[in-house]
Amino acid sequence: MSENGVPLGRVVATERKPNTPHEFHFWTALDSPVGIGTIVRVHGTHAVEGHMPVIYGIIVDGFSYTDLQTPLHDVIGHDGSPAQGAFAATERAEIRLYTAHVLRQLPEEPLQPVPMGDVFLATEADVEIALRMDGYLRPEARTGIPVGIYRAGGTESPIYLDADFLMGPEAAHLNITGVSGLATKTSAVEWLLSSLFAHFPAQKGSIAAVCFNVKGPDLCYLDLPSVLEESDLAMYERLGVPPEPFAKVEYYAPYKADGRSLNTLRSNEALLHNVVPLTWGLREVLQFAEVLLNKDDVDAKADALIDFIKERVLDRDFSDEMLKNRHRVQSFADLEAFFKDVLRSMESARGSGQESWRTHHVATIRKVRNRLSNISTRCAGLVADDGAVSDLPFGNFEDRRVYVVDVATLEEDAQDLIFARVVSKLREHLERRDLGVSHVVVFVDELNKYAPADGQDTYVRKMLLDIAERGRYLGLVLFSAQQFRSQVHRRVVGNSGTALFGRMDADELATPGYSVLSPATRTKLATLEKGQLMVRHPHFTQPIFVRFPRPAVLRGRDGAERYPQAVDVTLDIAVHRSLRTLDSSITLNWVKDAIVLHDDGVVLEAMRAALRERPGNVKEFFQRRFRSVIKSQSTTRAAPPAAIQAPPGEDPYDF
């Protein structure tokens, strides 16, 4: 036994299987605790330029064979009866031969083929050197973000990602691939966000996360704790991450079409305290009309009309000599009135052969009206007719806060619109450095839907490409996930500096993108357990297998069981539930009394305003809204009383 410990193997090389600077072979005892993914250290035996070479490698393939020349010899040896195999007096000589890929050679120059030598199991310190983590784990410039624990043969070593390469500016973005149903992708992101929040270096600034919950209840309970096993707690402790749910989480969800209950799986009354309605008006939507309008549908002429509306009509006092009324378009309702006026006026003028208004043909106007008014229908609940806006707190983002936008139950168009607008706003604010934080992680699942490898170029895909290629300079970092990486646009996944792989589908592994992995590594990927990941990171010259703890947040499925979704309720109950999140003293009877004399629309508007403004005195604010509404209604209704009909002149009864 040398001072380096007990060797577990010896490097071998033959003419048919030579060693190279990037690959070597070694054999071990049959009971050696190594396998695919194990990191080993090789000690050379001849000094090069005064330095004894040390090589670090990771096992990527393994072979086992005996001294049998052909299987037939074994058949003969057992007289063709497999049952007799157990009686063999001696076991055949057998070899465990492994192929390893070089992670690092020291000294790094001259780069030579791996020499013969003893092979040792890598220690924790070896793993740090092998993966070049020593460069970013120095106490004076530590930028390590724990991603999991590497385990092999008794060695247990935390694996860190470099924040400079995860969050920029050197490289950025993270992509996760894995089959559905094993909770790997969501769990990994939840864990990694916890780790990121705990370890993001102070010198790099502040960080927040915007997560799009695109399916199920996966991200709906990030602020609620889960029950962790001892092994998970040990991992949390080893990796220096508190085993706690996220302390600061805000949920955003649009209303359902009824406008009174939130369209989210987190609608249970007990959880509404940090659920904020997401509603946008015409201005917000028109900015991203491109997302919703089909390019084939909206040609250059329609585009020109939409631009005209955005620039000349929206939020301005607009009048036209041909139009009957003056317009100030601030909502879809206003827009509809505007279109009606325009079209009615054109019809009136038809006799004079007028087919256009301000160069826009009547057919184009009708088409744009149709498409735009459709939006408020397709995105009902998100787009408010009254123009009221309740949005993410752009400009006031908080450090270490998670903003979850729940779009799981929305129409695809609405999902696209929300995604496009939120990310664009994040980008705008980060460019101006006024978002409130310096780095934002945007998590998007089902990336193959939003940035598919083929199909037409959509606004969302273009935007994702833009983030992937330029986001790292802004601090806008994309954490994305999908089941089939091969079906995602290659520039999006290609720009992800870090890639995580959970258990993979065999068909997916058969695609060309995985040909760089050895067959054994692919097999391991196809059989990974829950909580295991393969990690690719710019500092790691080869993929590494790690384990990560179960997230400290309540699983979506458990949360959905414990906090069932609220059923659709009557208006008074909906208002009561909403207002009680602002003021717990509000009772259902008070709400009933307050709204009894008012229309549903007015009540909803008052409720939304209260939720949006979050006033100090909720009751007063809520009731004041009615007073103002009543007042304005009474004003508009203040028409002169109808004249009393004059009695007939020849009243035979002489009344």
Binding site: D74, G77, Q84, F87, A88, A89, T90
Partner: protein, 283 residues
């Protein structure tokens, strides 16, 4: 190398009954170790036309632990030069002695020294074999002195007095240039089926007398009559029949795994092949 002339010898049969008999009982795994040696020769060069023959000899005991073979103690390895000393100039012999252990291939000839290079090579081979046997004997003696369980020796055990008298050493001879039975007994042996053995006979001509018998490991159908045939040597025993059956059962248990791809696999046990493979790997 001149091969030994094939011959038959009528040994004295010391076991009553038929010439051949079925080995009683089921095969039993009992050998704790296997002993074998190898030799290699090559010509290093020629001096005055005399080949300088470099011989490497080695022997090893491979012990069986948990059905796996591991080296018992250390293998014995020697490297020697085999030359006719008298045929070499004195200065050359002195120079060679500085680098090699030397065995004189002409030590047993009083007259003129053989000068034919091929003849000299043929004279060296048995000397190399003798040296190999010496190493094997050394290991067999050591095993019998220090261990308590049986060892299967590739070849005869009569060369070692200690082994030939120990109940631990069993010799298995694969070559049959000399057949120790003749007449009907030989006919019966050559025709016996797998799992049968001959009646035991004594070999007194050897340095140390031993008891021997033939054992058919595999049916020879389609092969020559000596295919699958072993000759076994053990020390004298008071209950000879029982002992012969017992050792035969041990040997029958060694029929698997096969020693393929070795050409002698029909008679060779896997443990013995393991010794040879080990020595080939380290030499």
């Amino acid at each position: 190398m001149a091969l030994e002339r094939p011959r038959t010898v009528q040994s004295s049969i010391v076991e009553a009954g038929p010439y051949c008999r079925q080995v009683s009982g089921e095969p039993v795994v009992a050998f704790r170790a296997f002993l074998d040696g190898i030799q290699r020769t090559r010509v290093l060069g020629y001096l005055n036309g005399i080949p300088l023959i470099y011989g490497t000899i080695a022997a090893v005991v491979r012990a069986r632990i948990d059905r796996k073979l591991v080296t018992w103690r250390s293998p014995l390895i020697e490297r020697r030069l085999y030359v006719p000393e008298r045929a070499l100039p004195a200065y050359a012999l002195d120079a060679l002695r500085n680098h090699f252990d030397i065995t004189d291939t002409a030590a047993d000839s009083d007259g003129a020294v053989e000068r034919h290079p091929i003849g000299l090579m043929e004279r060296a081979v048995p000397l190399v074999q003798t040296d190999r046997s010496r190493l094997e004997k050394h290991l067999a003696d050591a095993w019998c002195a220090d261990e308590t369980e049986p060892v299967l020796v590739d070849g005869g055990i009569s060369g070692s007095e200690r082994a030939a008298k120990s109940g631990l050493a069993v010799g298995a001879i694969k070559t049959h240039r000399t057949l120790y039975l003749d007449g009907d007994a030989l006919s019966a042996v050559l025709a016996m089926p797998a799992g049968n053995r001959s009646a035991a006979f004594r070999i007194s001509s050897a340095r140390s007398p031993v008891v021997s018998w033939y054992l058919r490991l595999r049916d020879a159908g389609g092969h020559d009559p000596m295919w699958g045939l072993l000759r076994v040597e053990i020390a004298e025993s008071n209950s000879l029949s029982a002992r012969a059956d017992e050792v035969s059962r041990w040997l029958l248990a060694e029929r698997t795994p096969l020693a393929l791809p070795d050409g002698r696999w029909d008679r060779m046990t896997y443990g013995v092949r393991g010794c040879e493979e080990y020595l080939r790997a380290i030499l």
